[in-house]
């Protein structure tokens, strides 16, 4: 799981690297490298790559693609309609022969069109992206997931104990362990007080979001939150925290979203928050500082 998905890509790069070394100078990114390779990597290489070679077919490099399967060539340069590879990706969902198999998501219209244009253009390894002006752009590749917090799973027992003792919830943001935990108090706002925050210090690095709206948290609690270094989102709406308390959050390196709606934060506090290093979204509707700002002509 951890390294295998990158292996084929690495090999493809390697193969391309060797290929590119032999190319004329000035060949920037080729269409194959930029479009076709990533499409095959994404949809096909799990079954047609170094680990498995279904039907004797590998699709993890240009050379393999052109070599074809046991039964022969899968790509006929210039002839998309006659290319088995193209036929397989254009069959309707549910067809016995459609690729990829096993109900995996089919290629998007844009991806199919890129493959088609590439074959029609001679299935070249060297043509540049600029030579395919009609090729639709592909969706941005999903950025590799970044761990926002250490894996919480080894500490599940401790987390469960804290939930029970403190009457709060510590909820995984998603099934990806690196997405961290949410501190949730919506069902028991009274329990989200300064004492609770102090008790959470041992697992604070796991918490990425803290939902403390409508809790009795005070500036003293914010002093503790100032050490929750992985915090990205903090909701303090309808609390009594003030502009002074907010200062304690200044050192949080990742805090992106801060909700101070209906809090007691003054204009100076809002100014302070605006200067936080990572802050991108700030709300302070109904807070004295905001009301004052709004009232100014």
């Amino acid at each position: 799981m951890a390294s295998s998905p990158d292996l084929p890509r690495f090999r493809r790069r390697l193969a391309l690297g060797i290929l590119l070394a032999a190319l004329p100078l000035g060949a920037e990114t080729t269409f194959y490298q930029d479009r076709i390779g990533p499409i095959l990597d994404r949809h096909c290489v799990v079954c047609h790559g170094p680990e498995k070679q279904k039907a004797g077919l590998r699709l993890d490099s240009f050379a393999w693609v052109m070599k074809g399967a046991e039964s022969g060539a899968m790509v006929l340069p210039g002839n998309a309609a006659g290319s088995e590879l193209y036929r397989r990706i254009t069959l309707p969902a549910g067809d016995d022969e459609v690729m990829p198999t096993d109900g995996k998501p089919l290629l998007s219209r844009e991806e199919i069109r890129n493959v088609e244009l590439w074959i029609l253009g001679g299935a070249s390894a060297t043509k540049g992206v600029a030579e395919f002006p009609g090729a639709p752009a592909l969706g941005r590749p999903k950025p590799a997931p970044v761990a926002l917090a250490p894996d919480w799973r080894p500490r599940a027992d401790e987390i469960r104990r804290l939930e029970t003792e403190l009457g709060i919830r510590l909820v995984p943001r998603s099934q990806q362990a690196g997405d961290g935990l949410i501190l949730r108090t919506a069902g028991s706002p009274r329990r989200g007080d300064d004492a609770t925050l102090a008790r959470l210090a041992p697992i604070a690095e796991l918490i990425v979001e803290a939902e403390l709206a409508r809790t009795p948290v005070t500036d003293a609690g914010l002093a503790a939150l100032g050490r929750w270094t992985n915090l990205r989102s903090l909701d303090l709406s309808r609390t009594r925290v003030t502009g002074q308390g907010v200062a304690a959050l200044a050192s949080l390196p990742h805090l992106e979203a801060l909700n101070l709606t209906d809090s007691a934060v003054d204009a100076a506090g809002i100014q302070r928050a605006r200067a936080f290093p990572a802050l991108r979204r700030l709300w302070a509707f109904g807070a004295p500082g905001m009301v004052a700002t709004e009232a100014r002509p």
Binding site: E163, R169, V171, S174, Q175, R184, A186, G187, T261, F285
Partner: protein
């Protein structure tokens, strides 16, 4: 099953209904594990031994976790959680039942202004089947919108003059103009939007979210439905709880419907003379009996029942607090209008939706009916717009200023589109429009969709889609995606199939509208 006519019932060795009388189906040698698990999860009214231990174990676990029993699903404490990090934590779905015409709302068709009373070209209609209401019309005279359109905001959305408030929040909206459906009548079309299927009996969208993600606030239902008073009543759509039922999912995933008059939830208050302590003791007693029943019978629905008693008890304190609007500042009434003070109005429901969102309710669905303008469209759509425009815009504005819009998805729309030609007599001031499933408009806001985007296009007659069609399945897949759920993987084994909200036909997330 046990009727004497049933030949198998007489043979104890073929009957699985009474453990001890013969081998149970789930003890059959070679039964695949998955099937056995499904059998166990779904089994109702089947007696078997050894279940008691499991039941006790589960109750023990619930208390260990320190969560009320209701927070656990009937099939066990497993809540999946999002597959990947979500953009939306909650959604508010403003369901305009009856289907507002796209021509007077979001799909501006200036070409039609020059074609008043001309016949719809046959080439456009392309042999499309019509409803019984217009199929017999001799002519299909084009009816341009009587209401004017103008562009608004940075985004430059074309908005009808019927919606001056919504026009002002245009930059928040992602307008989809290319929705389509196969359903041509209200009930199946509404069902398809609320449950993903035209036939009743499937879990609704809110139930799938509850099943997949669990509750954020155990004191309130995860899924709430509100219906709104109507400013006029013509061709009113029937609403029933099959639109918000949990289908084959455990009943605790069904919506709680808040009533529009009197107490928001019926029978929530203790009857005169019954104190909270007495009520608590009574519920404990009933639950103890139900737990015994579960130990004996192993019927998962017993646990759902226990969970519902617990939820009702907790709502005794959470709902009055929710419905107490006395703490709302004047700015709230300035925004939503005075009508929001009157329980049951659409404006009141919009305000309640914001309060529910603040309190962590995952999915709130508000129905506003009577958009079905087969005749007298100009007059009636105006009444509907006047009833709803300010409150709709207020809700989006309020969510935004309070920092909730970021992770709250708002959806506005009906169940299908309407025809470009008039149903019945067309005059300069009056016309009607029939149902049209081939294209219709909706908008989304917040929750990780691109603000200020117009997506999809229809032809000059808003009859056919010419760019980026969005099937209801795609809308559902996209909504689940925003909640961090892969629509292919959010499934429940029932009747031998891994059932999904999006069904078996291909559905795709609309990448183009994701922020």
């Amino acid at each position: 099953m046990h009727s004497p006519e049933n030949p198998f019932a007489r043979d104890p060795h073929l009957c699985s209904d009474h453990a001890g009388e013969g081998p149970s189906i789930w003890n059959l040698p070679g039964l695949p594990d998955a099937l056995r698990r499904e059998w166990l999860a779904l089994e109702t009214r089947r007696h078997f031994l050894g279940r008691g231990m499991q039941a006790l174990g589960w109750a023990g676990l619930a208390s260990l976790l320190g969560r009320p029993l209701a927070a656990q699903t009937a099939a066990g404490p497993a809540v999946l959680g999002p597959h990947y990090a979500p953009r939306a934590k909650r959604a508010i779905y403003l369901f305009m039942a009856g289907s507002p015409s796209q021509f007077e709302t979001w799909d501006h068709k200036p070409v039609l202004q020059r074609m008043f009373d001309q016949d719809l070209p046959e080439s456009v209609r392309g042999g499309q089947v019509l409803t019984g209401m217009t199929a017999s019309q001799a002519r299909f005279p084009i009816a341009p919108s009587i209401y004017k359109f103008a562009q608004h905001g940075q985004a430059g959305h074309w908005v009808s003059e019927l919606f001056p408030h919504t026009a002002r929040i245009g930059d928040e909206l992602c307008v989809l103009k290319s929705l389509h459906t196969e359903a041509i009548n209200h009930e199946p079309a509404i069902l398809q939007l609320t449950t993903g299927n035209m036939f009743p009996g499937r879990p609704s969208l809110g139930s799938w979210l509850s099943y997949g993600l669990g509750a954020m606030n155990d004191e309130l239902p995860t899924f709430v439905v509100m219906t709104s008073k109507m400013p006029h009543r013509t061709n009113v759509q029937a609403l029933s709880n099959r639109l918000w039922s949990s289908g084959f999912l455990s009943p605790e995933h069904a919506a709680v419907s808040l009533r529009s008059a009197g107490d928001p939830v019926l029978h929530l208050n203790n009857p005169p003379g019954v104190s909270g302590d007495v009520r608590r003791a009574m519920i404990d007693g009933v639950n103890a009996l139900n737990r015994q029943l579960f130990e004996r019978v192993g019927d998962a629905e017993t646990n759902a029942r226990i969970a519902q008693y617990e939820m009702a008890f907790r709502m005794q304190s959470s709902v009055p607090e929710l419905a107490d609007l006395s703490s709302e500042p004047q700015s709230t009434w300035d925004l939503y209008g005075e009508k929001a003070k009157e329980p049951g109005t659409y404006a009141y429901n919009c305000l309640m939706a914001r309060r529910l969102a603040e309190r962590g309710v995952r999915f709130t669905q508000i129905f506003l009916r009577s958009w079905d303008q087969h005749s007298n469209l100009p007059r009636n759509i105006k009444l509907m717009a006047e009833e709803s425009d300010q409150a709709t815009a207020a809700l989006v504005t309020d969510l935004k200023r309070r920092g909730l819009l970021d992770d709250t998805l708002v959806v506005w729309g009906g169940e299908f589109g309407r025809t470009c030609y008039s149903q019945g007599v067309l005059t300069a001031e009056n016309y009607g429009r029939d149902h049209h499933p081939r294209c219709f408009s909706m908008w989304l806001a917040g929750g990780g969709v691109k603000p200020g985007l117009s997506f999809g296009e229809t032809d000059d007659f808003s009859y056919n889609i010419v760019k980026d069609p969005v099937h209801i399945r795609d809308l559902h897949a996209t909504m689940l995606h925003l909640f961090g759920l892969d629509h292919n993987r959010l499934s429940f084994r029932f009747q031998g199939l891994d059932q999904r909200l999006t069904g078996v036909l291909p559905a795709k997330v609309i990448d183009g509208i994701l922020a």
